[in-house]
Symmetry: D2
Subunit: 137 residues, 4 copies
């Protein structure tokens, strides 16, 4: 868990037993839930929220997800979800890594690209960028 | 699978592997998804839909669920979801049974009670009752 | 939130946005996940765990669920999940209530009945009862 | 929906209302369920199954997922899930596209890479390749 200082946000999510599949490991799709939850909590941390964006007619839309599965999480494990962001044109790119708290092993390495949509059209995302300004270089 | 004639609607739902839990059986909560899906498909069959109700400002709200788990479903099984309805005052009561298609065994026996809400208040559900009129004695 | 002293265990579960349905409220089936997670965490608290039971060839099987839905949870809400247990013959009965942390309102009132199964047969559950002995009068 | 002949397998999956999120569209993570279900059904079509592989001590493990989200699916939509496979060394690469049945629009474009694991170690996947031999050039 080196290079800690590259991350902008960290939350811990305890594995819940209903998230396991028949192999006794966290199902692949569940990590997308963890990743989404981490992004939404990061949004809350900067003083914004998904619900508030929706109320303002702004919808953050995920356009692309890349996930590399490195090791499995199991019953009793805690997922340490860390992320850092960058802005590329109108896109917000979330670099998200998930570690096994007990072992420090990397479980998942993901890159999630999103765009803010208004009335069905992509926007430049200026409002969201304002909330993220401390993290966008 | 006797007393077939008591049911108003039947759909088959194939078990998907991600619905299994670490014991290799369909997770308890997944049956509520099957039950909900069966009710929504029944609504479609009578010419209505959940989306249409929402568009009209009507929300069918589940107020109570009783589920008896009789036997487990596993990978490869097909859930035969059957239901019949009755009206009790403002409540619509769905009697829902799920069978294992291959064996005929009863997997789940459920009673789901719902009310139609408008602007936060329960209604008499006359509009929904109209769509169900062939089934309500 | 009177009668606090009747509960044996309490955990808080923050609502995650992916748990909402198209009405913007926590989907009915998700509460079964909260209820299951609360029971499994209670098991951990008494020094046991679902994974350990499985490793010993014991499977806690839910035979019946009753859920009364009282009010909805939404984005940003925290579910306060409380439970107390009683033993009725071979059955372990979990009385589980979920409150909205911010308002104190009761969201869900549930009774979950389970039995410990070994090699496909119900057992008297003596081993589990031993872990729960401080709570079973 | 051109280039139909590149696909090895197609199944249709009807959207279920509980799969929608608060925006009224299918939640991003749900597509991974559709993609997994399509792969598992393809496995059944060639005479094998996920459950059988597990019984033989073989575990197909997803090592990487890339998903491009092109357009949303909503209540009432049917997802047409199509795939073709190629083998790259020990990896099986599934090219999976999901179309909206009514409009023909591409909803999701995905590439899923997996490896067959035995006793915790990656294998060459010869047994799985044998089942897929008609599709691997």
């Amino acid at each position: 868990m080196t290079e800690d200082n590259k991350y902008h946000f960290t939350i811990e999510i305890g594995v819940r037993d209903y998230e396991l599949d028949s192999e006794g490991i966290v199902n692949n799709a569940v990590y997308q839930h963890y990743l989404e939850h981490a992004r939404h909590q990061f949004l809350c941390k900067v003083g914004y929220s998904f619900a508030q964006m929706e109320a303002e007619g702004l919808t953050p839309v995920v356009s692309r997800v890349e996930i590399n599965y490195k090791s499995s999480l199991r019953s009793g494990d805690v997922a340490v979800c860390r992320l850092w962001i960058e802005r590329k044109g109108i896109r917000f790119v979330f670099h998200q890594d998930i570690y096994n708290k007990a072992t420090g092993a990397l479980a998942v390495q993901a890159i999630v690209t999103s765009v803010v949509v208004k009335n069905g059209w992509p926007t430049r995302g200026e409002q969201l960028a304002e909330f993220f300004k401390d993290y966008l270089s």
